[in-house]
């Protein structure tokens, strides 16, 4: 895939999403989003409940398509109408809950083998061999959790933090061009959350992966990444690049929010420093 530095890796054009159209529950989750993400970007997306963060990620991951007229282009290819499993070729994803990103009844090495074959045809070759196990050990060792010595352990017996660390390795082991972190530490206890967050940062830096991290937490959004996007009620209301982001404080963000949204920030959980 040829994506030079100045060419965007992900392009969203007029992406709209309406749920329950034609019923009294009709809700517009996204209003005509236009967004360009460039190679090596580490973008943090912040917003309160109902801002459209998850809908946006789901559209990028191909869980559902945008409304007619919207376009999703990854690495120069129009993937708007491709099904979710085809999006997976380009997009690795870590979900909020550890049990979504890993298969409990399979072993660690089986989970990793499934992840290794992202975007490749799955045939009648053995799913595991010596070479692959070596690769898995070397991918797990940097986590420092000892998982590299427990390849044949069932994933269902691991703790939430261990599973989320594994999910992170699974999302990145085949080096997809885009990594989506969907509030991936929100359900972990503070200590484990910090460990998984550090691991994410380490892997993103090492593999130089283009990353979008959705978070509920302003402090995290400020601390990580080189670009910050704030969403509100289905629109992008703030988009700050590296230069401005370094000097940014939470107070600046709250002010920016109140100016752009034209209302008081009421979602206090966005202001709490730890979740």
């Amino acid at each position: 895939m040829d994506t030079s530095k100045d060419q965007s890796l992900l392009q969203l054009r007029s992406v709209r999403k309406v749920f329950a159209r034609g019923t009294i529950d009709e809700v517009t989750a996204l209003y005509g989003i236009n967004l360009d993400i460039y190679p090596d970007d580490f973008v943090t997306i912040i917003g309160s409940n109902g801002a459209g963060k998850s809908t946006l990620l789901n559209i990028i991951a191909g869980v559902f398509p945008p409304e007619m007229g919207g376009k999703v282009i990854i690495g120069g290819e129009d993937v708007t109408d491709l099904s979710e499993y085809k999006h997976a070729t380009y997009v690795g994803r870590v979900w909020q809950e550890p049990h979504v990103g890993t298969a409990a009844k399979l072993t660690i090495e089986e989970n990793l083998s499934l992840a290794l074959l992202r975007g490749r045809p799955r045939g009648l070759r053995p799913s595991l061999n010596k070479q692959r196990r070596e690769l898995f050990r070397s991918a797990l060792a940097p986590l420092g959790l000892g998982l590299e010595d427990r390849l044949s352990t069932l994933v269902g017996t691991l703790s939430g933090g261990q599973r989320q660390a594994l999910a992170l390795v699974m999302a990145t082991i085949s080096k997809p061009v885009l990594l989506l972190l969907d509030e991936h530490i929100a359900t972990l206890d503070p200590r484990t959350a910090q460990i998984v967050l550090n691991l994410s940062d380490m892997i993103v830096q090492r593999e130089r992966m283009t990353t979008i991290m959705v978070t509920h937490n302003m402090e995290l959004a400020l601390r990580y990444g080189n670009r910050l996007i704030m969403m509100h009620k289905g629109r992008i209301i703030v988009d700050i690049g590296q230069q401005d982001k370094q000097a940014l404080t939470i107070n600046d963000l709250v002010t920016a929010f109140e100016q752009a949204a034209g209302e008081q920030l009421t979602d206090e959980s966005m202001l709490l420093s730890h979740r």
């Binding site: 991951a61 089986e110 074959l117």
Partner: protein
């Protein structure tokens, strides 16, 4: 023809256990590997039997007829999978629709309610002929054991391949495996197809062993297969692909042992379906009662 001796009971359970083991393996693939409760089985079992019977009566080689029966089962399962994935019909309903419609299809295949195979050259007779002996229980057990071993080896290999692992992941965490780039629709169709291919093989063998195919011989087959898988799971606590397959085989044998003993105790063949259902109810109900006794919580059963 009730076996009078312990030896008789064992050989009878063994040959029946082996011949129905393919149903158990089929049910294992859908229920346990794919987590897809597929009821097509009652229909596809007879489809296998009727295709084999029709071809054998038509003068085709019994091996060819058996392979064609497997093909018919593969097709039945593929349709169930298509109904579920492409039209989003729930698994249970897709299976029931197939089960009912296959009843009519089977009547069409056989142009009637049954086909006798008494003086036909079945797979068992032709192998007996090859070895220069007559068909006997021991020979049937031998043939079935070899066949079961082959099927076991193929499935044990397949479920460890890249595709087989993707199938297992589809049954465990569908959202994850889609997110890793595997087409879960295709996996479901392949799994259902494979499962019903096994079931149809069993139907073809049963018809050839008992000397006729009857349109009603599939009734309750799904419950029997489920009983075998559940008994196998409860007795052997399998972990890993090979032991789970072996547990399904062992479960069928134990199940047939129950049935043969029940018949020996004077129960009528007509009572067997009830006994089977009661076995399944006991096996499924016990975990909840145990947990309740220990004041543990268990979620309500799913409705679909």
């Amino acid at each position: 023809m009730l076996p009078a001796t312990i030896e008789g009971i064992l050989t009878s359970s063994l040959s029946d256990g082996l011949i129905y083991a393919f149903v158990a393996v089929g049910v294992f693939i859908t229920f346990r590997v794919l987590a897809f409760p597929d009821l097509t089985v009652d229909g596809s079992f007879v489809t296998g039997g009727s295709i084999a019977a029709l071809m054998i009566v038509g003068g085709y080689n019994s091996f060819l007829a058996t392979v064609a029966a497997i093909g018919g089962g593969l097709a039945c399962g593929a349709v169930t999978g298509l109904l579920h994935t492409k039209l989003r019909i729930t698994a249970l309903l897709a299976g029931i629709l197939m089960m009912v419609s296959l009843y009519s299809v089977n009547l069409r295949i056989m142009s009637g309610a049954n086909i006798p195979l008494l003086r036909q050259i079945t797979i068992f007779k032709s192998i007996a002929h090859f070895f220069g002996t007559a068909k006997s229980v021991i020979l049937v057990i031998g043939i079935l054991a070899v066949l079961a071993l082959i099927v076991f080896m193929i499935l044990n290999w397949f479920l460890r391949t890249e595709l087989g692992l993707a199938l297992r992941a589809s049954g465990d965490n569908e959202q994850m495996i889609r997110g890793l780039g595997s087409d879960t629709d295709r996996n479901t169709i392949i799994g259902c197809s494979l499962s019903n291919g096994m079931v149809a093989l069993s139907g073809a063998l049963v018809a050839q062993n008992q000397g006729f195919c009857d349109v009603n011989m599939g009734i309750g087959m799904i419950v029997m297969g489920l009983a075998a898988v559940i008994i196998g799971g409860a007795l052997f606590h399998p972990r890993g692909v090979a032991s789970m397959l072996l547990a399904a085989l062992g479960g069928t044998f134990v199940y047939r042992l129950f049935i043969t003993i029940a018949l020996r105790l004077g129960l009528a063949p007509g009572d067997l379906k009830l006994i089977t259902a009661v076995l399944v109810v006991i096996a499924l109900g016990i975990p909840y009662i145990q947990k309740k006794a220990r004041h543990e919580w268990m979620p309500p059963a799913v409705k679909f």
